[in-house]
Amino acid sequence: MTDQPITVGRVLRSSTAGLAIGCRVLGEDVPEFGAFVKVAQGSTQITGLIYDVQFVDDPLVRQIITADSMPPELRLDQSQRLAPIEISVLVVGFVREGQVYQHLPPQPPATLDEIMTCTPGEVTAFTQQSTFLRTILNAKDAPADELVAACLRLAAASRPEAERHAFLLSAGRELARLLSGDPVRLEGILRRIKPQ
């Protein structure tokens, strides 16, 4: 996670619960599964988690795959072609006038709005409460268990080293409460966020 926000892409489709973003290949860590991203919607800043990164099926790439040879220029050109990647984001809350709300925003962002990565400070602020964990666990399209674990690891990493253990411990307690009826699932997630 870098200190400066990075533009991930622009909104392709959106609803209050989730959005799809089109973008190009950016860098090694962007876009990253489980990363916190933000998009402005008027005075509201919607916060979401990246849960799926997909290379969109592309007829030209299909043709290139079947070609006899692939010169390096041809291969390099593919990475700069527009919108070859589609990213899915699960909306987990929003920030308005500095106040964090961990429920769905009143309106979705408009198409073509810019999505940025959240700074470590913003991630720390957003994850002071843990109500958003329920939203993730109930998500239908996202791999919920993996996503909870990935975003908690990133949220821990956004904090000073001394605070990480306590943060994960408190998140673990909240998960235990939410998943009290499903100990097997709980154990799977806890294993994934256990500090090394």
Partner: protein
């Protein structure tokens, strides 16, 4: 109402029957034409003047049925492709404007470098942009502006390249501004001068300029063949009657003629507008850009200074073939330039909403016409629910 497919089915079958008959007839005519092409191949000298008069392909100094295989290309060479697209002014939209989006891809063969992709959108909205005299810049007038912007993009990209690597600059479609045939003489001259100035820039930049026409519909060479056969009896009307529905590519599209990679002889285009191109007078040849499994005949146009120089002509021929062997029998740089230039319906709608929002910010209340509004309500997805 929507199209009732069941009512058109009988006609579709009749259409296919008609097409079958036409194909057989065309095939016989083309076999005959091919025979004549060989028979009169060496009469190129005497056919020159008559071809000009009748409007047939004008031969240059080589037999009509010559064919050349693709030359070897050096390890390093660069091909640039440019394309453009436009949104015409629409009186049903919130305000009057047009948009021209030009794009280019610079592909440096053998360099191992990432190709350079550029796209440049330009909005025309001032009254001097939107009108030429009393005419709104739409249709042909907008096409000419787009074509000129395209060749300008090509020249800009060519000027950015180093001089020590062989350079070829390709555009999609023709180099001839034939759509100018219904504007005033003065306007036409000015527009051609403008267009041709970019061909001169390409030449000065050391680039070989060319245009790639996929599935060409021209019949210039067929006209020439009929002219040779009919001799003094030939007139445009007679030739047109006998070659109606036929295209030059049928003449070359045969296992017996152009092998993969081979090109035809060079001819000069008989288009009247060509007389105003001066040293850039446009010539053309046909080339089989396909492979052993699939014949694909394309027409390549190039200015006089390329057609008259065997080295430049070879460079153009070789570069087109190298590009057509990358992915499909179509120059890769042009496919990508098209991809970069094309404006999708979604993008167009988005631009329209940006413009409406900007107008509102400036206190201009603008709404699409009632017709446009109603169309957006009745068209598209809603029709999917019809029984």
């Amino acid at each position: 109402m929507t199209l009732e497919l069941n009512k058109v089915m009988n006609q579709v079958d009749a259409l296919a029957q008609e097409a079958e008959a036409n194909v057989k007839q065309a095939s016989r005519q083309l076999d005959q034409a091919r025979e004549w092409l060989h028979k009169y191949a060496n009469r190129f000298e005497e056919l020159k003047a008559r071809a000009s008069e009748v409007g047939a392909a004008i031969p240059v100094d080589e037999p009509l049925d010559t064919h050349h295989s693709a030359p070897e290309m050096p390890e390093r060479f660069t091909v640039i492709g440019a394309d453009g697209s436009a949104i015409p002014p629409d009186r049903h939209s919130a305000t009057m404007y047009y948009l021209i989006n030009t794009a280019s891809l610079t592909y440096r063969h053998g360099s191992g470098e990432q190709p350079v992709a550029v796209s440049i959108p330009t909005l025309g909205y001032k009254s001097q942009d939107l009108y030429e005299g009393l005419k709104l810049v739409a249709g042909n007038l907008l096409d000419v502006r787009r074509d000129t912007a395209e060749i300008e993009r090509l020249a800009d990209a060519a000027e950015a390249e180093p001089r020590d690597i062989p350079l070829v600059a390709l555009t999609d479609g023709t180099l001839l501004l034939w759509v100018l045939e219904d504007v005033s003489e003065d306007q036409r001259r000015k527009k051609i001068q403008d267009y041709v100035s970019h061909l001169a820039r390409l030449r000065a930049a050391g680039a070989v300029a060319g245009a790639f026409i996929s599935r060409p519909r021209y019949s210039d060479v067929l006209c020439l063949v009929w002219l040779a056969h009919l001799g003094k009896a030939a007139s445009r009307d007679v030739i047109d009657k006998q070659t109606r529905g036929l295209a030059d590519r049928g003449l070359f599209d045969s296992d017996l003629y152009l092998a993969p990679g081979e090109r035809s002889a060079v001819f000069v285009s008989p288009s009247p507008v060509n007389n105003q191109y001066g040293e850039h007078r446009i010539g053309f040849f046909y080339v089989n850009v396909g492979n052993e499994d699939q014949t694909e005949i394309a027409r390549i146009e190039a200015p006089g200074w390329v057609c008259g120089d065997p080295e430049l002509l070879n460079r153009l021929h070789g570069a087109v073939m190298a590009q057509c062997r990358l992915v499909t029998p179509y120059p890769y740089v042009l496919a990508r330039a098209h991809e970069l230039a094309v404006i999708t319906t979604d993008e167009r709608r988005q631009l329209e909403s940006f413009i409406e929002a900007a107008l509102l910010r400036h206190g201009v209340r603008a709404q699409p016409s009632q017709k446009a509004l109603l169309k957006s309500l009745t068209g598209g997805a809603k029709r999917a629910f019809r029984k």
